[in-house]
Symmetry: C2
Subunit: 208 residues, 2 copies
């Protein structure tokens, strides 16, 4: 398979959601023009993104919303269940445990890790917070595939090193800095300021 760019993958996530909304509105078929319009890209882009993965839809008839959503979900691996560990149970951590969307998409938080003696042994929802010093054992017991790192910036690299040493291959990082990982590991950064910066740009540049 060709190397697919990150931006293609994040657009597929968008299309997947758009299709879900159309299905909820009982829309049966959709054109690349319509998807493009809703998601703010060109229709050529929509067709190109999909073409990496095969031929969907029929020329002149558009796409079946249900089939296309199913196919994109399969491409993204969304029908699998992923076991997720959350490292660092502060405010962001608590918010993420409650974030219903994760579970809906198949990302289930099965393990909470922290190094704060006052938190270890307490519960958030149904999950008990375990000690980060025993991370390798817990990661293995819970068959964790993805780790979400929500720890302070100054310890984030150390935490990520321990996780990759323990065999974690996919990490979502909330700490506001770039972290290094070995080959064969993917790390994505969640930066909540980026969308705000688009708003700042809009407010700065709009016509008065």
């Amino acid at each position: 398979m060709k190397k697919i760019s990150d931006s293609t993958i994040s657009r597929l996530s968008k299309y997947y959601r758009t299709l879900g909304r159309l299905i909820a509105q009982k829309v049966k078929t959709v054109s690349s023009d319509e998807i493009a319009e809703i998601d703010g890209v060109t229709s050529a882009q929509v067709r190109k993104d999909l073409s990496f993965f095969g031929t969907f839809g029929k020329r002149g008839l558009g796409y079946s919303t249900a089939d296309l959503q199913h196919n994109i979900g399969k491409i993204l691996g969304l029908f699998k269940k992923w076991n997720v560990a959350l490292v660092g149970v502060g405010n962001i951590g608590h918010a993420l445990v409650d974030y219903q969307e994760f579970k809906k998409q198949g990302f289930e938080i099965k393990l909470l890790l922290d190094n704060d003696e006052n938190k270890i042994g307490t519960k958030v929802g149904d999950l008990e917070i375990k000690s980060f010093s025993d991370a390798p054992t817990h990661l293995e017991d819970e068959k964790i595939q993805i780790a979400i790192v929500a720890v302070p910036a100054n310890v984030a690299q150390k935490v990520v090193n321990s996780l990759t040493d323990a065999g974690v291959r996919a990490i979502l990082n909330f700490a506001p800095l770039s972290l290094k990982v070995p080959d064969g590991v993917m790390i994505k950064n969640e930066n909540m300021s980026i969308e705000l910066e688009a708003l700042s740009y809009f407010l700065t540049n709009r016509r008065k």
Copy 2:
């Protein structure tokens, strides 16, 4: 000024961060190739994104990291201070109040609004939670320019309607659905599943 795409703006946010890290490492000049490599885009893309806004750097000499960062920050409106209201003070809301990056980038949360009688009048950090039913007055008093909406999905559209009626022109939405806003208002959706889906794709498609 030409219409600039959202993806250009979000790449500028990335370049801005990358330059900040280079400056911290005492790097004085950088080429578009180097920026491209760090941010996972092509160097042609970097040059094109910047070309919308003027001519930066010198042919063959690259960009001064400090000058380019300053210029991008100016384009994004980051040297202004933006007054932000947070609507819905649940777990995500608490996490956002504590999220240091916002303030660093000039986004200051000045107003907390909720409709829960048990929360109204209590404090988070230095800020007292005010009643959403008095939103128009509070928004005006605090000169709010941007609202962050972190309320349950089933009330999100109603909340957004009240905010735009009260004159808010820029909204960051954490509720997991698409909301409608009038012309002249920008809404951005923060969806924390999207990065996880890229990880899911990676784990699904990597060579074993």
